[in-house]
């Protein structure tokens, strides 16, 4: 490999980046080469110091996606950052990715529970209102033998519905907080790894 092939490889490794940015990066590396040659370093030594073009390109990409995930928080951007890290071998697939996906699963489950509670609560309130209007508790005959009748039953149904919906809402809010925390911790972890690889 020499300067030209290095720059060509770096260029193709950076494909997909905005043209201006890519040219800027290539300019920096070309300048580095020229300045180092001028100061008497051999091409071989420079190449060794710079590191493989694919690795360099991945570092540019990773800092870019992490930056984007910080500026515009979204699950897609976070996913991209995680993917870019896997590409760099930073995200240990067996030890980290497994538990990580499990955590994602738990978060999804918490959301599901919250939504079902809210839906169930709204259903009960709706049912209670219908019962009050029609005077019929046909939709819940099982409650009658328990000795609850008439107005008391309707109040109980409405109360239970409101309580369920409120509980669901609380869990939903908690899930949102958890998601935000999860997001920040993921980014922190990725950045920590970027730093560690740089110090090696």
């Amino acid at each position: 490999m020499n300067k030209q092939t290095y720059l060509t490889q770096l260029k193709s490794a950076l494909s997909g980046m905005p043209e201006a940015e890519r040219n800027d990066i290539l300019y920096d590396y070309e300048e580095h080469f020229d300045a180092a040659l001028e100061s008497g370093e051999t091409e071989e030594a420079i190449l060794e110091q710079l590191g493989r073009p694919e690795v360099v390109a991945k570092q540019f990409r990773l800092s870019k996606v992490i930056q984007r995930a910080e500026e515009k928080p979204s699950s897609v951007n976070l996913f991209r950052a995680v993917l870019a890290s896997i590409g760099l071998g930073l995200f240990n697939i067996i030890f980290i990715l497994g538990p990580y996906l499990a955590l994602v699963g738990i978060l999804v489950a918490v959301y599901a529970v919250a939504v079902s509670l809210i839906v169930a609560g709204i259903g009960l309130v709706f049912g209670g209102v219908v019962a009050a209007v029609t005077g019929s508790v046909a939709f819940a005959p099982a409650l009658i033998p328990a000795g609850i009748v008439g107005g008391t039953l309707i109040v109980a149904i409405l109360g239970a519905g409101v309580a369920l919906a409120a509980l669901g809402g609380l869990i939903f809010l908690a899930a949102i907080k958890l998601t935000q925390l999860f997001y920040q911790v993921t980014l922190k972890y990725l950045k920590l790894n970027v730093k560690i690889i740089k110090q090696n």
Partner: protein, 106 residues
């Protein structure tokens, strides 16, 4: 050690050199690797990130030989950041020295 702090050390080096004078990329790399071991290829991603964060701007200046070079120059924000990181660094070193020299124990 504080992660933010660790992350700041290389940044502090870059910002400190630039607080003395404007440099081009290779010059910065040389200045740093004179004293600490770094992987040279990774300084450029860091420079780019710091520039995106508004720590410095660049300008082109003719060199005696070859094409013009890209010089990095600190912004006001970069100077502030350098001062803050340097102060944090001094506090840290002072603390470690006190422990290493055993002034607490005796």
């Amino acid at each position: 050690m504080n992660i933010q702090f660790k992350k700041g050390v290389l940044e502090l080096c870059v910002l400190s050199i630039l607080s003395h004078r404007d440099c081009y990329g290779y010059e910065l790399v040389q200045e740093i690797s004179k004293n600490i071991t770094i992987s040279e290829g990774t300084i450029y991603p860091l420079l780019r990130r710091l520039m995106d964060d508004g720590m410095f701007t660049t300008y082109l200046k003719e060199s005696s030989e070859g094409p013009p070079r890209k010089y990095y120059t600190l912004t006001a924000r970069g100077r502030q950041e350098q001062a803050a990181l340097a102060a944090e660094w001094r506090r840290f070193v002072t603390g470690v020295n006190l422990i290493v020299e055993g002034e607490h124990g005796e």
